[in-house]
């Protein structure tokens, strides 16, 4: 490859890059913002209430902006939070027609048809932080893209949803009495203990029943070999090798073997 072709290639690349980037940067300079307001309210004002950020996105074109069309609102939750699908609700316009259509996608997207000045539509949902109250983290974003009818310009704007709680409201959430991790871990340990105890009791009961059957068979055994085999089985089962009647009085003896959930025995 010659120097000239390299130069031509580089020039072409610069021209293409300028052609692609030029209109975008030019548009950014005079970009009008969509007629949208995003209200954020922290709804946890006590330790037993819901601790979420209630978000209301209101799209209301004015006389200045003129009518808007083809509006798409995208709500996206970040890793630190999730949007409860059941909390999503939409409002109707002045005329009573449902102009907001929710797409069955993730993240949740909403489509609005033409909105005239004076009309308004709103979308409400709740964002639940996943962890102990995050400090300054973005919980979710609301992206709006719309087209002004007069100029046919398509504009977009993204608003971040952050915790909007003051220190006094958050005091109990910043330092909760028990952290979620400890609380959930406690629950898991509790369930594990219950399960292990139930399995231990079940296994012990099964062994007692089997021991009783073997004792009964031993008493009725005709040959020495059978009796020895039963003794061997009883020894393997552990515990007392007394007769069936005596078994009931020895049920509280501790079983030295650790529970292994051996359901086959």
């Amino acid at each position: 490859m010659t120097k000239r072709s390299l130069l031509v290639g580089a020039l072409l690349a610069i021209i293409i890059a300028a052609a692609v980037a030029g209109p975008v940067t030019g548009a950014d300079a005079n970009e009008p913002s969509p007629p949208v307001t995003v209200e954020r309210t922290f709804v946890g004002t006590s330790s037993d209430s819901q601790h979420a950020v209630a978000v209301t996105v209101t799209i209301a074109p004015t006389e200045q902006t003129g009518a808007i069309n083809n509006t798409v609102v995208t709500t996206r939750s970040e890793e630190a939070a999730f949007i409860a699908p059941s909390s999503i609700s939409t409002s109707e316009t002045t005329g009573g027609n449902q102009v907001i259509t929710q797409r069955r996608t993730r993240p949740a997207m909403f489509d609005l048809e033409r909105l005239e000045p004076g009309e308004s539509a709103s979308i409400s949902f709740r964002v639940y932080p996943k962890a102990v109250f995050p400090s300054g983290e973005t919980l979710a974003t609301v992206a709006i893209e719309t087209q002004f009818m007069q100029t046919k310009r398509v504009v977009s704007e993204t608003t971040a949803i952050e915790p909007t709680v003051n220190a006094s409201q958050a005091s109990y959430t910043v330092e909760p009495p028990v952290s979620p991790l400890v609380s959930a871990g406690g629950g898991a340990v509790f369930a594990t203990l219950v399960t292990v105890s139930a399995a231990f009791l079940y296994r012990r009961r099964r062994r007692q029943t089997l021991r009783g059957i073997l004792q009964s068979a031993k008493e009725q055994s005709a040959s020495m070999g059978t009796e020895q085999a039963i003794d061997k089985a009883l020894n393997r089962l552990g515990g007392s090798t007394t007769t069936t009647d005596e078994i009931s009085t020895t049920t509280d003896e501790p079983d030295n073997e650790s529970p292994t959930f051996d359901f086959d025995d």
Binding site: G44, S47, D48, S49, Q50, H51, A52, S77, F82, I83, A84, P85, R104, T105, R106, Y128, P129, K130, T173, P176, P177, V178, P180, S183, A184, G185, G186, G187, A188, V189, F190, A191, T192, T195, A199, F261, F263, D264
Partner: protein, 194 residues
């Protein structure tokens, strides 16, 4: 009867055919690169499908390994799914994800899910084993098992109630890979057309 290694070879072969078709599609511009990647990465599921039907034979390797490891594996999957949805579980229980009792209950539920799956699989796996070459050697059983695999994968990769297009492809690819492996087993046993 075809042995386990032969079934794995059949599974590997059919997966290579699948990858080759996807590669041709990608080169031809019909298939997206993500689909090709999905098809390539689902080899373990094809191999699992290829040995799955022999879970009904008490002396087969899948049954012996399945009896030993399947309870722990399924319990692990159940715990993973539970952990993934722990916040939603806590929020659904007492309408908030911040109260200590909600997270405590979610911990109880996730752990119970894991233990329940382990005990249930351990206890029921040998009991529910059907006779060899009956129910598990039918294509309809393969379709149902593949759908179950897809359901588990979607629970693992999915999020807030819906799947992204890429996730949907992966779930579908997992099901198809498992079904292909299953079909290869039936083909090796000469039971595909029965």
């Amino acid at each position: 009867m075809t042995d386990c290694e032969a079934h794995l070879r059949y599974g590997m072969s059919i997966h290579m055919v699948l990858v080759a078709i996807m590669t041709l599609g990608y080169v031809g511009g019909v298939v997206h690169l993500g689909i090709l990647a999905t098809a390539t990465s689902t080899l373990p599921l094809t191999l699992t499908g290829a040995v799955f039907p022999d879970l009904d034979h008490p002396s087969s390797i899948p049954y012996r390994y399945g009896k030993r490891f399947l309870p722990s594996l399924l319990a692990g999957v159940a715990v993973l799914v539970g952990l993934r949805y722990r916040i939603q579980i806590a929020a659904a229980l007492i309408e908030t994800n911040r109260s200590g009792f909600g997270t405590f209950l979610s911990g109880v539920i996730v752990a119970s899910l894991g233990w329940g799956t382990w005990i249930g699989t351990y206890g029921l796996f040998p009991v529910l084993r059907p006779p060899h070459r009956t129910v598990t050697h039918r294509l309809s059983a393969g379709v149902i098992a593949a759908l179950c695999v897809g359901a588990v994968v979607s629970l693992l990769v999915g999020g807030d109630g819906s799947l992204r297009p890429g996730e949907r492809v992966f779930v579908l690819g997992s099901s198809v890979a498992f079904l292909l492996g299953f079909a290869s087993h039936l083909a090796a046993d000469g039971l595909l057309h029965k």
